[in-house]
Amino acid sequence: MTKFIDLTLSGISDGAIYAAVALSLVLIWRATRIVNFAQGAMLMITTFIAYAVISSGASYVVGFVVALLSGLLLGAVIERVLIRRVEDAPPLNAVIVTLGLYTLLVAVAGMIWGNTPKSFPAAFSLQGYKVGGTRLLFTPNDTFIVLVVIGVALGLAVLFRFTTLGLQMRAAAFRPEVARLLGVRVGRMFTLGWAFAALAGSVAGVLVAPSVFLGPNSFDPILIGGFVAAVLGGLDSPPGAVVGGLVLGVALSYVAGYEGSSLVPLAGLLILVAVLMVRPTGMFSATKERRV
């Protein structure tokens, strides 16, 4: 029973990371109908920036804040400079651009910081909690991860639900032309959508870095997990991304705990295929009217 609870808890922690990555993919998909394959590389860059800040002697908190701000900026700049040019082009153009951006960012990170993985500090202890003499997988740092991701998700929910900026961002995402006719600066909303998405991604990067080590390619598995989570929740739904992330995290944690961790990638893939076969629109996709 302890094992089950422990696996559930550490699954929630892994799931929180997937949720944050899934959120970043969903926000971009909603805003600009683009699957951002460069997301893993973007959050890798912002995590390296945090690493550089922290190793220059600044505190963890400063490093974290710098990662978030550089995420916002990176997302906005990428949208303005690269994505704006392919938004009205065939979808394949955007796919190629984000793949190219991925390659570019990975190469740049390798040139600046080298390809040997570096250890990244954790906010709290990575030693599991002790319950009745057994040490759990679930650590104080996991608690921190879960709380931070909940905070980010709630923050985004409040932004979209209750602010006029969020209202404009939703309008621009759903019906760009109508939004423009109502005076919404749609281009600006797309830029902000990318900025907030990159922010969610950079949160995931800093949080997961202590357990994967930091290298140009270390976040690729996380991105795949985030992608599965996003599909699981329905690419269109931010709450779906969060739930999808948690469900995936817990499921993979059971697989790792009861069957062995070598089966985890296979299980992730199985879940993806199963979702695409049974409910390709995801768990949370609303059935909504679409223009014909």
Partner: protein
């Protein structure tokens, strides 16, 4: 006052609007009539900046708004209710209405005033707009356009798909809005008869050309025009 001067719009090699000119005074309604493909929707989309004209000019209250970004044209007091009732189905009725007046901040028309014009919308304010009926959607998109207190209003086929009784109601409402708010209204319609019943002026388009610009009574009396372009 809305002035359209020699406006020409091309879609690639196709000339959708050819040298169209007319004026709309405040407090009056100009019905723009014509068959499918006559250029009516293109005319509205060019005026509101969604489509760039090849040449020609649009003035609103003496200021040129030609080739301005849509968002800026809207801020100068022009509201465009697009064809097919451009409500955002994923947002609630109240959110749609708020969105309409957002850029006017405190000067936007308060939602209560819009609800007074359209009591049905108040009953449904918390529902997603996708749940509304056709008539309610039309009210929502007109109410939303009014939220920004525009001086000119472009309406694209407000009667489309509505029952005759509703069409009469909507037309009556448009007349009332023009009179009470002093709006310059451009009303694009297939339903020529009901549009002319409330209009002060009728413009007939054919293949992008203005073939008539007359008082409604004269238009209705001209059998040749009626048969050729208006279908009644």
């Amino acid at each position: 006052m809305l002035v359209v001067e020699e406006l020409t719009t091309d879609y690639g090699a196709v000339r959708a609007l050819d040298n169209a000119s007319f004026q709309v005074q405040e407090g009056t309604i100009t019905a723009v009539l014509g068959a499918n493909g006559a250029g009516k929707t293109t005319l509205l989309r060019t005026i509101s900046g969604l489509v760039r004209p090849t040449c020609g000019k649009v003035h609103l209250d003496g200021e040129s708004i030609t080739r301005m970004p849509v968002e800026d044209i809207v801020r100068r007091g022009l509201a465009h209710v697009p064809e097919g009732r451009g409500v955002i189905g994923e947002l609630t009725v109240a959110e749609n209405l708020r969105l309409g007046g957002l850029f006017r901040h405190h000067e936007a028309m308060p939602l209560e005033e819009i609800y007074e014009l359209f009591p049905r919308l108040e009953e449904r304010r918390t529902q997603p707009a996708s749940r509304l009926s056709g008539g309610e959607r039309q009210m929502l998109s007109i109410g939303r356009a009014l939220a920004s207190r525009p001086r000119a209003l472009l309406l694209d086929e407000p009667s489309l798909g509505l029952a005759p009784l509703l069409v009469a109601q909507i037309m009556g409402l448009i007349r009332k809005l023009a009179d009470t708010l002093g709006l310059a209204v451009v009303l694009v319609e297939q339903n020529a008869r009901s549009a002319l019943s409330i209009a002060d002026r009728g413009v007939v388009l054919n293949l992008g050309h203005v073939v008539a610009d007359q008082a409604p009574a004269e238009l209705a009396a001209d059998e040749r025009l009626r048969r050729a372009y208006l279908g009644f």
